[in-house]
Symmetry: D2
Subunit: 385 residues, 4 copies
């Protein structure tokens, strides 16, 4: 098996998500980082690329140069796909440039700065017939997949209620004024878009709710706000949800829930059974029943379904975490790429990486969250595009 | 110390909450059950009273008879207060009759069938100058009091966000048609009032949110529904909350969250710290901070405040539960009564039993939940009466 | 139903376990405290009895007076049994005096100061044909009974391994020199006997291990020590266990495990399944399997066995605790007494209170723990008496 | 930074630990797998090496060939160290051959088949002056390092008691006869040595106890046994421990605790505070105190010490797991290697990988466990070599 060749845009010194992407790509030994444009500052990019052990010739001063230079390399040397790990406002232009140059794209979320950009991106993808993946990390966890599969198989009956929450506390003070890079761009409308908290994590919660339940959100009633004085974008919000099936739900996300870490959690209740999963203890999935004891399912167990098993590396009791979940998305995207090269249809279990439809849905959700919150009308429809 | 003499209306064979009241009253050895009218069926009442070891002369065929007969007993023999543990629709008439006959009242919640009845009850109380207590059980837990005290003392700073939830699963099927008494009256508008789930448990959640945070709910945006076909009253619902202080919140309660037991849980986040408490593990209170480790406070610990300590019977690690929390309300109500008899002002720590104001607030909340849910306007103001 | 009449020896001002006994006796409304000798100091006894609302005539200056005075009361007035809640050294003399005067006995553990006293007590019981109960609290928890029943029914297969632990931390410093009454007598050989920690809590752990597993300890290998300088009796210890069936085990108990509360916990593993139960979260029982998910059983659930159900008062999710477990022992002892009075054989489910055989076994265990610890021979046989 | 070049012996198709080593080595992008002899069967080795993307020329038929062939490559191409991931009986011969050929060694544990081999290995290392690392995985977790550091700094005072346990359940049935490779060699004296469970996991527990507490085990009292019929080597055991400092302890490990996964857990109690850490929730460390609330420390938090921080990749709430802990050992070993190449003394924080002294200590512990268990003398001294 020859390693797939990856390029990276963004993710230089001090970036959090860039390092996660690199670790996730490296973990299973199937992908090799071959080039990058790691920073808006060309010097930083070069220094950082060297630190990563890349040859100077493959570290670029900007993404435009990278696209054209890589395109001129021989087919067996040039990168095969680009991982985009910049702040939000660059997702679209970088993806566009990559596609123009003939490279597949694996992008961090949210996909773009606006719904409109996401729709344009879809057009571009259709025109180029290239692959696009979106790293909604949390669907990469094996027990999230187990929950999804069991619900899809009808084991819990018809889902009636979905409660998804995502409390964080790291923005409880004005970190964005204290030199915290992660905070400053996420709260800056120019770089983050119309929303802070909901573009950053609320969209993960919505994605997870739809993924696990198999239901589509039909309408939302929202209340978002910047809770900390001086902010323009929301750092906190909550929603009532109605699903197309008639199920109802609650979604809340916040970055000012002091002392909370990365508390994404989902509960879904059907008429036969329920599930509960928490990101901070990702190797446990709870199944709940009316007349039988709660069951604790554990990653790596023999009783889990095919999809969970295919996305687990270790035996029970050997915890896997965030990087491994992320690596599962990379593995799925790599599987698609290999299938594409081999000219075969993608197998179900290795195509489980969100794509452009999830990207559009996410952007529609973010924009609706903001619109609905500002309105005094209760319900706002989440449209399909 | 002479025991206080209690009468009881309701709580016969198969009743859940009546037995809880009796246990709670008995636990600390300060209250004696001396009489009762335990059932709408006089024979049942007599049989049950006998089973409790009461003399036949003090077991009554109905509450009206009880009030007049007890009133004619000598002052040192007759009951001093009535515990009302009937279905909701009888709370008001029984309380009214008791007050008329000169007896103090300790009532299960919700206080009445409607807000209007609660307002009339307040007038009656003012006219008779008798005591009234409402058993909002959950404020009786020592660590709920600890949370309340720490927030009141400013330890968590200004509260920004309150998340309160109360999932249950016992009404996931149509228990009310399967001979389950508890279910049948709670889902019957005649006996339960305008709401099912929110009159039964949503109101506990709202009470807890206001009690712990020290904030007043200003407005709600609600979505209640009977999720199980064939029901008239809500068995599920969720709310966005706005507090007068500017804080925001989420409240959800349900009786169709399959596999959930009695999952009342509150989280409140200030600008300095946060708290988390769950009814199912009531002896633990979590304090959360921005830059310091989460702390686990435990009932019975020496570091707890005066109020928690006064409401705890056992050393750390010896779990207390629901009956003990209930007994704390009884202890507080008994303390008020003793102070009244002694002609002294009630001490703070032994007067911590909700009263008529909580009763009115609860009924206003319940009625607003239903109104707001039916409306397409987003926000509905919770008025003070 | 007429209440049973209880007298109490010990349990005055500041005593922990006396109050627990009173609450446990009161909880279910079947037992009434009618008299007591609450303190070695007659004045304290009188003052305390008054505080409890007892008539002065039934509060005695010492237990000897109490026995003779009560014996002279009419059969329908005098106490029917004595609850003994003194320090250990008085358990035997008080029990002896009570039996001599014709009263049944319910005693706190350990039963006596020495194995020899326990054997003499058995002779006395045989001679008087009166009832004797021993409050090994922890077997009163409903889910401990569930575990016992499931193992007895063979659901877990043959038990191979039992791990029981009981860490506490309250004696981490020399509390016994700082005026802590609980500490001072427990560490005083005159009042506690040959062991501190193992007489106080190690014996609970051993009792629980045998009760739950249904196995008999055959031999122990022990290492006990006073870990805090200046103490004579052990405050910490550990044991390897061998059971008669060939199963093996570990038992450790300590009062110097800083920060631990009352951490009694048992795990038992068979060849088909395992159980885990922790006293600090007593309403949960874990069942473990080889090829199926772990199950979480919860107190109050419909799927529990008869014995757990008979010892539970509340629906699922309404936590019961230590006092309720204690009350279950009282309920069982009261059941025996009522059956005795009614002249019927005791029913299994209401006779579940440990008796003189458990008392003797406990004392044999305590003495063996000390002997075995002092020896350089590895294994020491736990004999039956 | 140029990647370090690693060779691997063992770890072919279906091996668990080989894949872990490869992932751990890959995770941080500092190490490259360049060659291997993956199986005793040359064909399997070749096929597997190809699957890993290695050139056929660097996949060897046996480890002897690998050592000599690699030694002949140019210094900038040949591997720099060998990862040994075979069953136990090959650890020593492979390490010996690698050292003979001039390669550093990173070996899985236990280091050798016997104490004597471990002592010979030390001599060989002294003669060759090459590096040796031993992958005692669990010391790689950041919060284990935090516990170690806090105890070393005296924060918990003098340690009095250490409780370490390691229950697993995967050998509850005779997996070794059902084609389970992992089971078959671990229970075969020829390949595993004198012990099954204690060579496999008991030794991890002992290593962790000494690492975290900073204390040396002085003597053990042991009871090991094959609990499942037909086995020769222990699958279960327990020990009482005495430490040189006077502290005492308990160690138990088992592979027949049905339903348990990989339950390594340590608790250490000093006279000022205590710690608790569980491998299955490795991102949490509990600190316990006498008069203050328990604290929950979380991986990634700013309040953690330098060593924990240096061994963590992600912010709080983003779980890291077993592979990351393993990668920390690789990172430490790689740090030593780089320092060696750079001619500088190894920095403390990047040399935190166990070496030959831990290897010898582990083998002495395993052999003593077996000897002590077979003896009827209680205490057996753990000697230093």
């Amino acid at each position: 098996m020859i390693k797939l060749r990856m390029g990276m845009v963004g993710g230089g010194e001090g970036a959090f998500i860039g390092e996660v992407h690199r670790s996730a790509a490296a973990l299973d030994g199937e992908i090799e980082l071959v080039c990058g444009a790691f920073s808006a500052d060309p010097e930083c990019s070069l220094r950082f690329g060297k630190q990563l052990g890349l040859p100077a010739s493959r570290v670029y001063r900007d993404y435009q140069t990278m696209m054209s230079a890589e395109a001129q390399l021989s087919a067996d040397r040039r990168m095969q796909f680009v991982a985009i790990v910049t702040p939000n406002h660059l997702h679209y232009p970088v993806a566009h440039a990559a596609l123009d140059a003939g490279f597949h794209v694996l992008s961090d979320k949210p996909a773009t700065l606006s719904l409109n950009e996401a729709l344009l991106l879809r057009e571009k993808l259709q025109a180029t017939n290239l692959l696009y993946g979106l790293t909604h990390t949390y669907t990469g966890y094996p027990l999230v997949k187990e929950a999804q599969q069991r619900i899809a198989a009808g084991e819990l009956g018809a889902i009636r209620k979905v409660i998804v929450e995502y409390p964080q506390g790291w923005l409880v003070e004005r970190e964005e004024q204290a030199g915290n890079k992660q905070a400053s761009w996420r709260l800056d409308p120019e770089r983050a878009g119309v929303s802070g908290c909901f573009a950053d994590i609320g969209v993960h919660a919505a994605n997870l709710a739809e993924y696990v339940s198999g239901l589509k959100i039909e309408a939302v009633c929202a209340d978002l706000t910047p809770m900390v004085e001086g902010r323009v974008l929301d750092d906190d919000g909550a929603m009532l949800l109605r699903f197309e099936s008639g199920a109802r739900g609650v979604l809340h996300a916040s970055q000012i829930c002091i002392g909370e870490e990365n508390g994404l959690k989902i509960r879904a209740y059907g008429d036969k059974g329920g599930v509960e999963w928490s990101q901070q203890e990702p190797n446990t999935l709870w199944l709940k029943w009316h007349d039988r004891p709660v069951q604790m399912l554990r990653a790596g167990a023999a009783y889990l379904g095919e999809r969970a098993t295919a996305n687990t590396r270790l035996p029970m009791g050997h915890p896997e975490g965030y990087i491994e979940a992320f690596a599962n998305l990379y593995m799925a995207f790599a599987g698609q790429l290999r299938d594409r090269h081999a000219g075969v249809a993608s197998h179900d279990h290795n195509t489980d990486c969100p794509g452009i439809e999830a990207a559009i849905r996410g952007m529609a959700f973010i924009e609706l969250a903001v619109t609905a919150s500002a309105s005094n009308v209760k319900w706002h429809r989440l449209q399909s595009y």
